[in-house]
Every structure is written in structure tokens, then in C-alpha cells.
Symmetry: C2
Subunit: 334 residues, 2 copies
């Protein structure tokens, strides 16, 4: 590997001149600039990332850490969407991504204390996440994806699940539906993350405001569970004419089950799904959706982190929202 002094020698200038050509932090005459750049190209010189980080006043490594859940009941599709958005956005900010798993709890300390990373994006934050004190004590910028109970001094990005539910109920209520069911996930991590509860709160609030009767039921992502879930809802409210489904993995099974039972969407039942992009694609029956903008959340998280790393911006909570998209999944109540 060529070093900066190889370049300096080859171009017949001093070390510092090469550095200034490359950083642009001082003016350099055009002929010198060209000679240096030619030497760089000739030697295929790339500055050593470690040395650069060591020497620079800002002390930045250009690497951000991404902490992902790799346990069983994390939705791999959603995690992958985050990963994709975070890595591509990081690249736009001249940063690379170091991957940490949630299980490697010592990793947070390790990569920040040893200055491997400039900051962290942490996925899958629980309402009472045990890592929060640790993260706060790291002395490095951190952005959480998720909404802990106490957000004082923390940067957080999340989707406004309560608003999404209110939007869905409002839409259905305006169509004349007066009895609406809610299907949510039954996995514990989803509940620890709190967003299921926030969504349900929004659902109930808007239903109360609109005078809508409700039924709620959790569901596992299997065909059998979907049938049981539907039966449970009907037992609670035989007059159900609409469903809000907040469970991307169970959605296909629910739609199939409805199809098998001869329930036509939207004629017999209106259905609104709240879930990650693509979750409602390729289903045998149409559903309306409020899309959880997973990629957007990852993008915003990196942008916030990047700002904080460069000293700009302060801790803030950003709740994203997205519109309900009708695609034939709902109809006026008959």
C-alpha cells in the first residue's frame, strides 16, 4: 500500500502539501495540485482510515454501528429493510456500517470505547429497554429506532402508530362502519416495543370518538391461528364489517382464511392493514394500507445520527406518519 509520503516523494512536494490537496483545507496552486493528483492516481494511493481518524482533530472514523435484533421473532423482512436503508444512507454520508447484534451486549461498549464507531443506530427499542442507561453513558451520539418510555436527552425515530390507527378507524367510520375489529401481533417483543399498544390506544380512542364498536384479538402468523382469530373477533362482535390488521406476517393467512370462508373484500368486509412496505402485495384479495415507512425510518435515523456526529442538531424525537392508501380494500358499510 502506498502511503502519503510515497505520494509526496513522487510528486516532489511535502507531506503536508499532499494532505492539503486531498482535504482542500488550504489553497494550493493549480500546477502542484495536478502533480499531486497525478501521483495519487499513479500510485493508487488511498489514505489509511485508521491513521486519518487518529490524526484528525474531529477524530472520526467514518463508521457507524447498527444494532439489529437477530432473535427468532424479529421480522427478517423488516430488519432487512432497515439494514438496507441504513447502509445506503450511511454511504451518502461517507460512512460505513458496522453490524452489531442485540445479543452482543458488550459490543455497544466495545465499539464506542475503542473508537471503532462514531455513533450508533439501535433498532427494536423496548419501552423499558435495559440498554438505555448504557447507551446514555456511552458518550457517543445514539439514535434509537423505537420509542422508550423516557426520551429525555435521547434521539428517537419511530412511526406514529397511534395516528395510523386513528387514520384507519376514521376512514372506516366515514364509510359508515360502526363495528370494527383490530388484529394485533401476539409476540412478546412486539409488546415490549410498545408500538402495538400505541396503535391499540389510537384505535380505541378514535373508535370512541366516532362511536364505533370494537373487538380486538391477537394472532400468530399461521393459517390455523388466523381462523381462530377471526372466530374470536366474530364471537366478540358478530356485526363486524371492517378490520384493521396490524400484523404483516399474519395478514396473508387472514386474507386466505377470509377467502376460504367466502368473505369477499370489500363487499362483505373492509380491511385496512398497518404494516411494512410490501406486506400487502400479492394477496389474493385487495386491502387498504397504512404503510409503515421502514426505509424512511432508517434513513431519518442515519441522517439524525450524522448530524449529531458532526456536532449539529440536538436530541429530538421524530414520529413519522404516512397516509392511508385505498386500493379496493374498503367499501361503504351496507
Amino acid at each position: 500500500m502506498a502511503t502519503i509520503s510515497d505520494v509526496a516523494r513522487s510528486a516532489g512536494v511535502s507531506l503536508s502539501t499532499v494532505s492539503y490537496v486531498l482535504s482542500g483545507k488550504r489553497s494550493i496552486s493549480e500546477p502542484t495540485r495536478t502533480r499531486v493528483l497525478d501521483a495519487v492516481a499513479l500510485l493508487g494511493y488511498r489514505p489509511n482510515a485508521g491513521a486519518r481518524a487518529l490524526a484528525s482533530a474531529s477524530n472520526r472514523t467514518g463508521v457507524i454501528g447498527l444494532v439489529v435484533p437477530l432473535h427468532e421473532d424479529a421480522d427478517v423482512n423488516v430488519v432487512m429493510q432497515f439494514v438496507r436503508a441504513v447502509t445506503t444512507t450511511a454511504r451518502r454520508h461517507e460512512a460505513d456500517v458496522l453490524l452489531l447484534t442485540q445479543e452482543d451486549s458488550a459490543g455497544l461498549e466495545r465499539v464506542t470505547a475503542t473508537a471503532l464507531v462514531d455513533g450508533l443506530v439501535v433498532l427494536d427499542i423496548a419501552v423499558d429497554d435495559p440498554r438505555i442507561p448504557l447507551l446514555a453513558g456511552l458518550g457517543r451520539p445514539v439514535v434509537l429506532i423505537g420509542l422508550p418510555r423516557e426520551t429525555q436527552g435521547l434521539s428517537c425515530v419511530d412511526f406514529d402508530f397511534a395516528l395510523a390507527a386513528r387514520t384507519a378507524v376514521d376512514h372506516l367510520a366515514r364509510l359508515g362502519h360502526t363495528s370494527i375489529g383490530l388484529v394485533s401481533s401476539s409476540t412478546s417483543s412486539v409488546h415490549q416495543a410498545g408500538y402495538a399498544d400505541r396503535l391499540q390506544a389510537g384505535f380505541l380512542e378514535q373508535a370512541a370518538a366516532a362511536g364505533v364498536r370494537v373487538a380486538t384479538q391477537s394472532c400468530d402468523p399461521t393459517a390455523a391461528a388466523a381462523r381462530t382469530c377471526l372466530a374470536g373477533l366474530r364471537a366478540q362482535r358478530p356485526d363486524l364489517t371492517a378490520l384493521v390488521v396490524h400484523h404483516e406476517a399474519a395478514l396473508p393467512h387472514l386474507v386466505s382464511a377470509l377467502g376460504e370462508q367466502g368473505v369477499r373484500i370489500p363487499r362483505d368486509l373492509s380491511l385496512v392493514s398497518v404494516g411494512a412496505a410490501g406486506a400487502a402485495a400479492g394477496l389474493p384479495q385487495p386491502v387498504d394500507v397504512v404503510e409503515v415507512p421502514v426505509g424512511e425510518m432508517g434513513r431519518v435515523a442515519v441522517e439524525m445520527l450524522s448530524a449529531r456526529i458532526s456536532g449539529a442538531g440536538t436530541a429530538e424525537v421524530r414520529l413519522l406518519s404516512s397516509p392511508l392508501v385505498t386500493q379496493g380494500g374498503s367499501a361503504p358499510a351496507s
Copy 2:
């Protein structure tokens, strides 16, 4: 952040003594050792990773790069299994993982040339992968997961798909099956990767050797495609009594379709799946499996990379295999 000189001052020793206590590369008296370690604990000292890599003779950063496909038709489940295995194995080798996406083609050069990583694990290698010349010219250890046409001087890990197919056919032939179908994936990336072809070659070879009649058909991972695929196979060979399925995503649809058509496994049809771990779990009918040991492949890749980074080992190709596990998916031909 405390530096090594803070520790030295606090312990009343020289810089180098602290370094030797921490690395164990020279003998240090017990009292001094203790004083230094106490100071380290007191100050919460963690050596700066960049400085360490810069100064050390080995020049290692303790970071390996992992190049993953993030495009649409990559199976997220499989990718995630690789990621999990690679990160956990890397940790056992004191390394962290930097994530690169396949799309970021300049990334390979960037992270190696700037000495961000000590080596690379590259997933999803195509038979004629355009990155191979680039990877060879990097001057850093690289382990490929997949099997390119030319493996000269390259470290590769893959599953022996041909052997898996021969195993499956042999198993079925011994049960008296004389007409066996093969279902494979139709996505182009699967074929570029070459393993589908290797599996098919093994399938045909063993079938010929055992005097078994065959039918082959590709399939998309949807319910409709599964039905079409089965119809296609029956059209080729109305007497089919067994199926080898090499397509984890289509497997559930195929099994459902068979169930709907009243085909009982294993009474009416024997079915062997070749696919990633967990792909055959939770199906409504039993299937036998030859498991593609995705996690194992990731583990072996990191182990090989780790050896090459520390100067040990030479380029080699490792083909893993795994046994056929019978779990009620096959029965003697009637």
C-alpha cells in the same frame, strides 16, 4: 476517553509497561501487573482501536467485511442466517463485522485499500462473478460463499448440492421409486450462482445410475405457480411417485397445493426438500429434508478467513454436506 498514558501515569509506570501488561508479550512482575490493571479498571481504559491497528506490526483492525446481497430476489431468511453466523463467529475470533452491500461495488476497494477491514466474506458468488478479478487484486484475504467457475487461488465455501441431490435420489430409489420429479427455483440469481445447476446435474446423474425416470420443473414462490408446476411435472411424467424440491420459498405452496389436491405425503407421494434450515418446519404435511447448513457455511467462512488473516492456511475450496433426515416424508413406492 482515558489513554494509555493516563494509565501509565496513574500506575506510576511507563507507557510500554502498560502495553506489555495488556498484551502479555513480555514478562511483568506481579505487583506491577496488578497496579496497572487496577489503574485500567479505575480509569475504564479501552485501547483505541485505530491507534492499535496503526502501531501494531500485524496491522490488523479486527474488522472483517461482509458483502451481502440486498436485492429483491435474495432470500432474506437465508441472508439473515448467514449474517448471524458470520457475526457470532467473528466475535469468537475477536473481530467485528462491517456490512457492505453488493450494490456498493466500490466498497470492496474502499474498505480494503483504506485498511478498514482485514479481509472479506462475500456472499452470493455467481459462476462467472464479475467481482472475482477485483477481489483477487485486493491484496487482502477473501472467502467466497459460492462456487465460481475458476477457483484457482481462491478460498471458497459452499454446500455440495450435487451430492445432496444424489443422496435424495438414492434414498428414493432405494424405496422403489422409479419416477421422480425435481422442482427448482426460477429466479435468475439462483441460476447465476450455479448451485441449482449443480444440484440438477447430481439429480440427473444419480437418476440415470439408478434407472429412474425424471421430470424437472422450475417454480415461483406463489400458490398459483405451485399448482402450475405440479401440473407441468405430471404432464411430463404421469407416473411420478416422488419429488425432490430445491426451493425453500416455494415448498409451503407446493405442499399446500398437494394437500388441496388430496395428495397425501408420504402415501401418495414422497417428498424430499433440499433447503435452508427451518424451511420445512411448520408445514401441514411431513417432508424429508437434506438441510443446507447455512449457519455452518457462514461459520466455516469466517474460520477460513480468520486463518488466512493470521497468515495460516492457504486458499482452498470446502464443500460441506449434510445427511438426509427422514421425518415421514417418504415411503416405499407402492
